[in-house]
Amino acid sequence: MRATVLAALAIAAVVPLVTAGLGGGEFYLGFATRIVIFAIAATSLNLILGYGGLVSLGHAAFFGLAAYGVGILAAHGVDTAAIQWPVALAACAVFAAVTGLVVLRTSGIYFIMITLAFAQMLYFLFVSLRQYGGDDGLTIATRSRLGPIDLGEPVVLYYLSVLCLVGSLWFCHRLVASRFGMVIRGARTNTRRMAALGFPVFRYQLVAFVLAGVMCGVAGILQANLTQFVSPSYMAWARSGELIVMVVLGGMGTLFGPVLGAAALLILEEVLADWTVHWMLYLGPIIVLIVLFAKRGLIGLFDRRSPPPAGGHHG
């Protein structure tokens, strides 16, 4: 485990050197940053999906909401990170808490459909906000100002993203073994038993939902700074679907699975898109095959001892 972590960190550290050596280094470094950002988003989803068994089909809402937080404040001339980022994350926390109050009272198919519906509500909300670009999206003129750190420098943004990913993973790692994590994991396999033991499961799931939303918001903030652009498509339901694919493809309920999954899916998309404009024609069936035959995810290839995939969603 320790060796794997060190190796992964070493790889992450040298990526800018390698991409600098390639032609079009800017592109590859930007791509690497995108992978890291989506790895954070997938890790946050894994917290509630992989460990908590909550099949949220609206997780990209937090990604887009935080990105809009950065974009809208920037449009009003507020570009210091000290204000932008807390506001963006607070917006995610509030949205998660309010929608969580409704969705977490449901389970199964209802939960899936309602998380999807609330994300779509946010999507249409931003489509209707013409003053912030509506459907066309909002260009962010200036990146967040973070003291002496210049996020306009691609290498800096890359390393900041890696730092955030490491922080997210460390947080997850501690969380899932803690008392709180045990409650969340217990509720995944047996909600009924948890209630009989004396846990008011709803409260814990609500806090987990908020934590995951905020963590996904971190990814959204980074993405806004990477692309200097935000549009409703950031929170389109297909994005939420992709996040689920990343988690499952990598290995749900494992610490590093979502990171692998994010990298694998984005690289696969890039390769397919390079080869044909109709890349989704192939991606769709590939996802279907993953469901049918490779539920343990990529992480299963590396670690034969990792636990079998999570059982059904009991609710």
Binding site: L49, V55, L57, V102, R105, T106, G108, I109, Y110, I112, M113, I114, L116, A117, F118, Q120, M121, F124, L125, V127, S128, L129, R130, Q131, W237, A238, G241, I244, V245, V248, H278, W279, M280, L281, L283, G284, P285, I286, I287, V288, I290, V291, L292, K295, G311, G312, H313
Partner: protein, 307 residues
């Protein structure tokens, strides 16, 4: 003012009718098999594309309609047998992923076959006119009225099917308590295939009828799918009556909200503020409605399931 109110209400009902066609089949499948099917919107899209294609070939929309509906129904049956059926025993996450993959596939297939630009289907000639009511006070397109009529006719047929036939009784019982029906020796898998095919045909019908009033394009089924979910959640999984009431409710609230809410707000608050937040609030209206219904009645307005 009256004209606006009436025509917006009719537009709302017309959207509601399309939503009902989408929701009717899906809610039964959800109720009987407890299976999530995101690809239901793809069937709607395929129905619309087939209508465009067959109208172009035959030159007659009215001829294209039954052909397209039938073809979508068959496609639905193939889908059910080839993919979804393998997933009934699996968890919801697998169903989400599988049908998500199917959506990506179908959205791309139509681009490959019909190209990336939207297709337009002419309104059938006989219905391509405006009807006048109340001495010309209210003018409304005949085709949209025809959609409402067809939708209500289908609703009546479904109520008859569910309430008066043996198959309908099994469907009702299956939605209420699947295990009991299985224990009675009914082939629940075949029953579901039947319902799935029916649902696919209805989704196709919705797509066909929407084709002359909407742009037929890739991804057109995604938005209506989510609205359909809202309808099913509000109406209660497995309930046809709930689907009808909720579909019309959602259709009317959404349509009226978008046109009336900004106007009402303009009376109440500053004009500039109103034009800023009016559309925003209107776009969220149905989801807020859903949240309220769920808070008051977690199982929807007409819960079908008992066990």
């Amino acid at each position: 003012m009256l004209e606006l109110l009436v025509s917006q209400a009719l537009n709302g009902i017309q959207l509601g009718v399309l939503l009902f066609l989408m929701a009717a089949g899906l809610t039964l499948v959800l109720g009987i098999m407890n299976v999530v099917n995101l690809a239901h919107g793809s069937l709607y899209m395929v129905g619309a594309y087939l209508a465009a294609q067959m109208t172009a070939v035959t030159g007659s929309f009215l001829l294209a309609l039954p052909m397209a509906v039938l073809a979508t129904l068959v496609l639905g049956l193939v889908l059910e047998v080839a993919t979804l059926r393998t997933l009934y025993q699996r968890d919801h996450l697998d169903q989400v992923l599988l049908t998500f993959g199917l959506i990506l596939f179908f959205n791309e297939v139509v681009r490959v076959i019909w190209g990336p630009t939207a297709l337009f289907v002419p309104v059938p000639e006989a219905l391509d006119q405006e009807l006048e009511f109340l001495d010309g006070e209210i003018i409304y397109p005949a085709y949209r009225l025809a959609i409402i009529a067809v939708g209500l006719a289908v609703a009546a047929f479904l109520f008859w099917l569910i309430a008066r036939t043996r198959v309908g009784m099994l469907i009702r019982a299956g939605a209420a308590n699947r295990d009991m029906v299985a224990a009675l020796g009914v082939d629940i898998v075949r029953l579901n295939t039947l319902v799935f095919g029916l649902g696919a045909g209805l989704a196709g019908l919705a797509g066909v009828m929407a084709a002359p009033i909407l742009a037929v394009e890739s991804g057109m089924g995604d938005g209506i799918l989510i609205l359909t979910f809202v309808v099913i959640v509000i109406g209660g999984i497995g309930s046809i009556r709930g689907a009808l009431v909720a579909a019309v409710l959602i259709g009317v609230v959404d349509t009226m909200g978008r046109s009336l809410l900004p106007m009402i707000l303009r009376e109440l608050v500053d004009r500039q503020l109103a034009s800023a937040i009016g559309p925003a609030v209107a776009s969220m209206l149905i989801y807020i409605l859903m949240a309220v219904v769920l808070t008051l009645r977690p199982q929807g307005l007409f819960p079908a399931r008992t066990g």
